[in-house]
């Protein structure tokens, strides 16, 4: 998939969130974490909501996760995103509770709880999106809707 010229691109220089995009530009997944208490600060921000420290840094995270939900978009809302396409919500295995969004072309077969792996999509010079691709499901069946996997 190549990025559409009209696709929104992320600000990569924000003082709270910029490190995420700088890591992505090096094909790495990094989350902000508190240097004092270790809490993952996602969505990224300097201030730790647990211990109120402002000493935080970026922690590289294994780029694997679990599918927490998805939607196949069938209605056109924006020229950069012609339907159908699929939005995935992925929970990171190494940082439970931290989630990221991904875009998939079309309407692929997906199952709740399916393992997902990050991919890195360069969309502009120095701007790379973290995307998510499904790995073979640990569970399979006739219909994703009929499955109620263990999401804990």
């Amino acid at each position: 998939m190549t990025a559409h010229p009209d696709a929104p691109v992320p600000v990569t220089t924000d003082l709270d969130t910029g490190g995420f995009w700088q890591a992505a530009a090096h094909n790495r997944l990094a989350l902000r974490a508190c240097l004092d208490c270790g809490t993952v600060l996602h969505l990224p921000k300097v201030m730790c909501h647990r211990c109120r420290s402002t000493r935080s840094g970026w922690r590289e995270i294994e780029p694997v996760g679990t599918l927490a939900s998805w939607t196949v978009v069938r209605a056109a809302l924006h020229p950069a995103f012609p339907p159908p396409y699929t939005i995935v919500l992925v929970e990171l295995d190494a940082a439970p509770g931290a989630r990221l969004i991904g875009y998939l072309d079309g309407a692929p077969d997906l199952a709740m709880g399916q393992p997902m792996r990050a991919t890195f999509q360069q969309v502009r010079d120095q701007v790379t999106l973290v995307q998510w691709s499904p790995l073979p499901a640990v569970i399979s069946g006739p219909s994703p809707d009929s499955l109620v996997p263990d999401l804990s």
């Binding site: 600000v11 924000d14 978009v73 069938r74 969004i101 999401l151």
Partner: protein, 398 residues
């Protein structure tokens, strides 16, 4: 803090007013706001000179000074803004109650005006529309984590919650359909509703186009041009008015135990995806009001989407977590059910006034003047939007 809320029943909504609801108003939001406010002021038996306060919503293009200028308010002494977005209306009433209670004003107009269909359409992703060709995000809004992936509109976010609810609890499309159909039947009885003359059948619902799976066209609310306003004052003064007041038994705002930044997409980062700030607000509201879900005669539940209603049914304690689907399908929400809901048609079928029309319909139920009146209704729950934060009201007959 035990016991209730010290201001219980002491402040009231004394007047309500609305414009027509349409797809193209042909007027500015300011004109709409002025029209709705004048109607509410007249309904309260007051004159423009009696209004000394204004409360607006953060998403409104009309500023307090704009309304004062538009109406020629000679005695404006208090103004305020509440939000966020659709979470505003009940909290706006609460802000007006607080201002009157504090002696900062006596009669406050609370309004919401928008050209939500002919102007900026929130359902099409307002942030991405505003961004044009600039990079998105930064400044604490976190849009950079969502918009570049094609997640740009509220319906897509709620579709993710609906899919998750279906997977965890076995909720079915038929459960969402039941919510859409009940709202439409109430709109069919309401001449002011945009869908008044348009019945909706099960086949219509199922045959409608999918927008963002599993949500179809009729799971989405009706983007609308129009305005709504109410007048908030003391119960003592409201009782002198020409119409029965709706007493504010309790009001509450809350963001829940894990507040999120931004507008709505960030709610996908909350620890618990399927429990909304409504759960915390419900607890506070019931405690302040000294009432519980069993005491509610009729409910006006914010319904930007059908799934929004289903989540609130659980959070406000009308059924257990996960049971929203069977509850919605049980007939409980219909006019003869245990919890008649959105008796004017709601956001889904009356018009999307960003939750403000729910406050007006709550007052009508308390007055006994709804086009789908619940016999003997004395207590009405009104809720405002989710997911970023929310607010709610308990209205009571005097």
């Amino acid at each position: 803090m035990s016991g209730g809320w010290s201001l219980r029943d002491q402040y009231a909504i004394s007047g309500v007013g609305a414009t027509d609801f349409s797809r193209d108003s042909g007027r500015t939001p300011l004109t709409l706001a002025c029209e709705a406010s004048l109607a509410a002021i007249a309904d309260a038996g007051l004159a423009v000179e009696d209004i000394d306060g204004v409360v607006r919503a953060d998403y409104d293009s009309v500023q307090p000074g704009d309304l004062a200028h538009g109406l020629g308010l000679p005695n404006l002494r208090y103004w305020g803004t509440s939000g966020i977005g659709g979470a505003a209306p009940c909290g706006m009433v609460g802000q007006a109650v607080a201002a009157v209670a504090a002696g900062l004003a006596t009669n406050i107009v609370v309004f919401r005006a928008l050209n939500g269909r002919s102007g900026l359409r929130l359902g099409r992703g307002s942030a991405v529309q505003r961004a044009a060709s600039r990079p998105v995000g930064g400044n604490g809004g976190y849009e950079e984590f969502f918009l570049p992936y094609g997640l740009i509109a509220p319906g897509q976010m709620f579709a993710l919650l609906a899919r998750r609810h279906m997977a965890e609890f076995g909720t079915a499309a038929e459960d969402l359909r039941a919510i859409a159909l009940v709202a439409r039947r109430r709109a069919n009885a309401n001449p002011a509703a945009q869908m008044c003359a348009r019945p909706l059948t099960e086949a219509d619902y199922e045959g409608a186009r999918m927008i963002s799976e599993p949500l179809r066209l009729f799971d989405f609310c009706l983007e609308t041009d129009g305005a709504c306003a109410v007048v908030v004052t003391s119960t003592e003064r409201a009782l002198d008015g020409p119409n029965p007041p709706a007493l504010v038994r309790a009001v509450a705002q809350g963001s829940g135990p894990r507040p999120q930044a931004g507008t709505f997409l960030t709610a996908l980062m909350r620890d618990e995806l399927l429990t909304q700030p409504s759960a915390a607000v419900a607890e506070l509201l019931y405690q302040r009001g000294g009432l519980g879900p069993a005491d509610i005669d009729v409910a006006q539940l914010y319904d930007c989407f059908t799934i929004t209603v289903l989540l609130q049914l659980e959070d406000y304690g009308f059924c257990a977590k996960g049971e929203g689907g069977p509850f919605a399908s049980s007939g409980a929400l219909d006019l003869d059910g245990s919890l008649p809901f959105n008796t004017a048609g709601g956001n889904l079928s009356e018009g999307y006034l960003h939750g403000m029309s729910h406050v007006l319909e709550g007052v009508r139920q308390i007055r006994g003047t709804s086009t789908s009146q619940v016999t003997g209704a004395r207590t009405c729950l009104v809720t405002s939007g989710i997911p970023a934060a929310t607010s709610a009201l308990l209205l009571r007959a005097a």
